[in-house]
Amino acid sequence: MRQALVLAVALAAVVAVPWIAPIYHVLLMLPFMAYGVVLLGLNLLFGYTGLVSFGHALFIGLGAYTAAFLTGLFKVRALEVILLTAAVVAAVVAMPVAAFCVRYVKIYFGMLTLAFGMVFYTFLLKFYRLTGGDEGMPVARPFLLGRDLGDMPKIEYLAGPYYYYSLVVLIVAIAVMWRIVHSPFGLCLKTIRDNPAKAETLGISVPHYRWTAFVISAVYAGVGGALLATPTGNVDPTLAYWTHSGNLVFMTLLGGFASFFGPLVGAFVFIYLQDFVMSVVPYWRLVFGAILAALVIFAPGGLLGLFPRRRVIEAA
């Protein structure tokens, strides 16, 4: 009940942002929503399956470059098609990558995902004829629901239709993920997170579940990446760089991986805090790093871990 109330208020606030907030802050919401989608997926792997990936920027990159290729090379401008294609591309790449990675756990899993991420980063950088190398590729403005909004000023487009489009995508992503984590499948993932050996004695085939969770998380990252491409305007290899993957893990930790909405809170705080610190202090990376470190030390369960938690998962 209380949770529903908080959610309703949060949703109302997000809906109202373009009307009440300065344009600058409205535009900051776009990466928040894109990362929100990514992190929902990442946390299926992290919080629910117990696997920490340091390579998910790979799938963000895939999604973003899919958007660039489709709108540029292939003249496909419908965002629905772009998101769907990004999801498929991410899934197709994730299937073999996951099959390889999920045979390992803990740090070995993390390192393998990191390695795959680096391979992809290098690919983007070196095959510049295809990818534009470190200059990247421009992303043409997508059509929304079949409507070409090319005449709109860019800011208006992003803060209006694109904003609400992103919001709907985020809400759908939340709804689907909610369904997934509250399914028998989601429960099996949690058994694997808690005790894989015991899960196996129950007949739960651990690698298969890890693989599926990985592929789902990659699809989310691909869709989030495609959503991120338009406000970014130009996609480049740093999207797929490992520090980007690290930020994803950090946002998740910051908000709290133990709760469903934790990663969303983490993404929000991360993005706005980074922006704020950048604008007020010169050595912003130093200060930002220190703030984040302090948050993790004093709130090891993440920001949502600070609130006394009734058994959200159980009650749901």
Binding site: P184, L187, K190, N195, T201, V206
Partner: protein
Amino acid sequence: MILQAENVTKYYGEFRALHDVTLGVSAGEFVSIIGPNGAGKSTLLNLLTGLARPSSGTVRFKDRDITGIGPVKLAKLGMARSFQLVQIFPDLTVRETLQAAVAARLRRGRRIFASLRGDRDIRDGAEEVAALFGLDAKRRALARELPQGDKKLLDVASAFALRPEIILLDEPTSGVSTADKTRIMEILVRAAKTIGLQAIIQVEHDMDIVFGFSDRIVALHQGAVLADATPREVQADQRLVDMVVGRRRGASA
């Protein structure tokens, strides 16, 4: 014969943990494996449940070679087990733990978009086992917050939730007070009847429990079968009892 080990030998490097063990279990039997620390009881259980591969010899379950087959396939074939060290899912509730077992049994774990709450079969199955094991009052408690005895009980209950044909328990009552031991054993026997379990094999140190509940006792010593007999026969053989209970340890993991 539902489960059968033939001439199994197990080496860990140079060390021979089991030597030429032959053992058969028939439907309807409650078999206790006894022996001093390090006798090879857990090793034998690991071989019988296909978790470890014997260095030589075969293990057959329902006339099927299950040598080194692994726990997942075995669970699906109808064999469940628990480990000597209690195995729980710390952050799951009692109910979730049992639901996971029931979902696995019903092969519904791959239903990605189905509602767990809306699945009556899973819910009822879990409730039934919780009631059987006296855990219904605690079904909302997190497994890690349970007292040791209840953790053991939950571990065993989740194995029962698979409705296996045979169950192998490695010291199901270790680390539990004597009064609780009898209670747990009584629950076990009752649950076995309810779900139509065909056989129970347990490793147990407490001789009162062993004599009180088993149909048959297998005594291991330094990796070899010292005796395979009824409780009455074992009880009569004081030398044997001394040998297998010799270095008894206190409450342990």
